[in-house]
């Protein structure tokens, strides 16, 4: 009894120490960001760059407030996020089943992989002119570009996950006479989930990085458009405000949404996520 008590007290102490270390690391991270802001301010004050090309941190903050008040920032953010979510959802909807087929069937790999490997190196933005010809300017062409640049990570990751699934799981499925669809639903997909989640994470990252370029060329809304439009108005403060918005949304999704997804699945099951 006393042994258990001592052990749990030690565990508590260690986890408390762990929390302290974490918060020290967090403080370090914030300190660097603060130092960066100070440096930015100093560079601005030094006058190396002309003021019409280099905004100060306060000017950017003011641009935030102004674009928020006018509704411009929210409208453009929503336009970008909606395209991003639809594009990523489409990439997952096509990429996951296709990845399962590629991972599970040697014939599917032989038939489709060469074409996939050829198309994969085409940068997302190279699709933009064609997308404009096909879909015009706006929502559809941007979604198309996100889809085509984002499908590869989810596709290849799902394929790897399925292909490297522990063969013993398949043996169990065969011994207990699992029908094909049941096997896919209850074993292949959850068993490949570490890869699938990492794939969606990468797809999301690629999409979010491509969307700005796409919107600069093929759109009259969205954060990319807002940044590009600010060029004509000679408003670098709005450009930077747009860039920071992109950074914040990307950071929230990549560090919170996907971490949450892993917590409620992989971590609960004691499985490891892949980096």
């Amino acid at each position: 009894m006393s042994e258990i008590a001592i052990e749990s007290a030690a565990a508590r102490r260690e986890s408390a120490g762990h929390r302290r270390r974490l918060s020290r690391e967090t403080r370090l991270g914030w300190a660097t960001i603060l130092a960066f802001l100070v440096l930015w301010k100093l560079v601005h004050a030094s006058g190396i760059f002309p003021p019409w090309a280099f905004p100060s941190p306060e000017q950017v903050l003011m641009a935030f407030v102004k674009t928020l008040r006018s509704g411009e920032l929210l409208k453009n953010t929503w336009a970008s996020v909606a395209r991003q979510l639809v594009g990523v959802a489409l990439a997952a909807l096509v990429g996951i089943p296709l990845g399962i087929a590629l991972g599970a069937s040697r014939n599917a790999r032989a038939a489709l992989l060469p074409l996939c490997r050829l198309m994969y190196p085409i940068p997302g933005i190279a699709w933009i002119p064609l997308a404009i010809l096909w879909f015009g300017i706006g929502f559809k062409s941007t979604v198309f570009v996100i889809f085509f640049s984002g499908i590869w990570p989810i596709l290849f990751n799902t394929m790897t996950g399925v292909a490297t699934l522990d063969g013993q799981y398949t043996d169990v499925a065969r011994v207990y006479l699992a029908p094909r669809l049941f096997y896919v639903r209850r074993i292949l997909i959850p068993g490949s989930l570490p890869y699938i989640i990492t794939g969606i994470r990468l797809t999301y990252g690629v999409g979010w990085r491509v969307i700005v370029g796409a919107e600069m060329i093929s759109s009259i809304t969205g954060l990319g458009f807002m940044i590009d439009d600010a060029r004509w108005q000679l408003r670098p403060d709005i450009m930077v405000a747009g860039m920071i918005t992109i950074a914040l949304i990307g950071w929230v999704m990549e560090n919170w949404a996907f971490d949450w997804l892993e917590r409620v699945t992989l971590e609960r099951w004691g499985m490891k996520s892949i980096a």
Binding site: Y169, D171, A173, R186, R268, M271
Partner: protein
């Protein structure tokens, strides 16, 4: 019950073929507990997988209740060495896996898994995930999963090989208790002489590769067996005698393979 006739297994390798199993003839009666004992690499697990229908034999036939079997079927269930539980399913869902695969409705499944988890002493773990369980507990779940589909033949592939000595002993006694309750025919693969003699009605001793049945040892002692008794010690010495040549051969094979690879 189970009948294996003139079975052999060859594997194709780079420079020809390896004969893994040869001239296997085995008969097992209804309700019998038979252990397959052999040195590592003798093909005892391969034989078990062939009986399970997971690997096809090169020659020979397997009959269960006089019907030839060539693929997995509802009459057999397998307990694997490293449990092979699905980490993304709760303990109860793992136990119910075979029933769910057969489309058994969920209330019926819950009833079966509830009863079996009580039988293996894990009732309060039904909603937990496997990674919360110890090795011994995982193997109990795996045994419950096998019993859930009510097979006539239970195939066990070194199920306690990964457990520590104490847990292993507890699990052996538990298995005998469960076996008495559910009256299954069991084919149990092991490389431990004590385990084979403690559990089996009969112990089939296999040779080094190519695996053949070298001898069948009947164990007449009543259960629970006293492993310190004179009778048990004699039987163990006899079995070790039969096995030690094969172990030496198997080690020589492994050494050669190591040198030529």
């Amino acid at each position: 019950m189970l009948e294996i006739r003139a079975l052999s297994k060859r594997y194709a390798v780079d420079d020809g073929e390896i004969l893994a199993l040869a001239d296997i003839d085995v008969e097992i009666d209804e309700g019998e507990f038979v252990c397959l004992l052999g040195p590592s690499g003798c093909g005892k697990s391969t034989l078990l997988k062939i009986v399970a229908g997971l690997i096809p034999p090169s020659d020979g036939v397997i009959r269960i209740a006089r019907r030839e079997v060539t693929a997995p079927g509802p009459d057999r269930a397998v307990v694997f060495q490293d449990y092979a539980l699905f980490p993304w399913m709760t303990v109860a869902d793992n136990v119910e896996f075979g029933l769910a695969a057969r489309g058994v409705p969920s209330e019926r499944r819950r009833a079966v898994s509830g009863e079996l988890l009580r039988a293996v002493g894990l009732a309060e773990f039904a909603g937990k995930y496997p990674h919360h369980l110890s090795g011994g507990m995982k193997q109990r779940v795996s045994i419950a999963r096998a019993l859930a589909v009510d097979p006539v033949l239970l195939l066990m592939d070194e199920p306690f090989g990964a457990l520590d000595a104490q847990t292993r002993f507890v699990m052996q006694r538990e298995l005998l208790r469960v076996w008495r309750t559910y009256r299954k025919t069991v084919l149990f693969v092991t490389h431990s002489i004590e385990e084979a003699l403690y559990l089996g009605d009969r112990v089939l001793v296999m040779t080094a590769r190519p695996g053949r049945i070298k001898a069948a040892i009947a164990v007449p002692q009543e259960r629970p067996r006293d492993i310190a008794s004179l009778e048990f010690t004699r039987l163990r010495a006899h079995t070790l005698d039969l096995l030690s040549d094969e172990i030496a051969k198997s080690m020589a094979q492994e050494a050669t393979a190591e040198l030529t690879s």
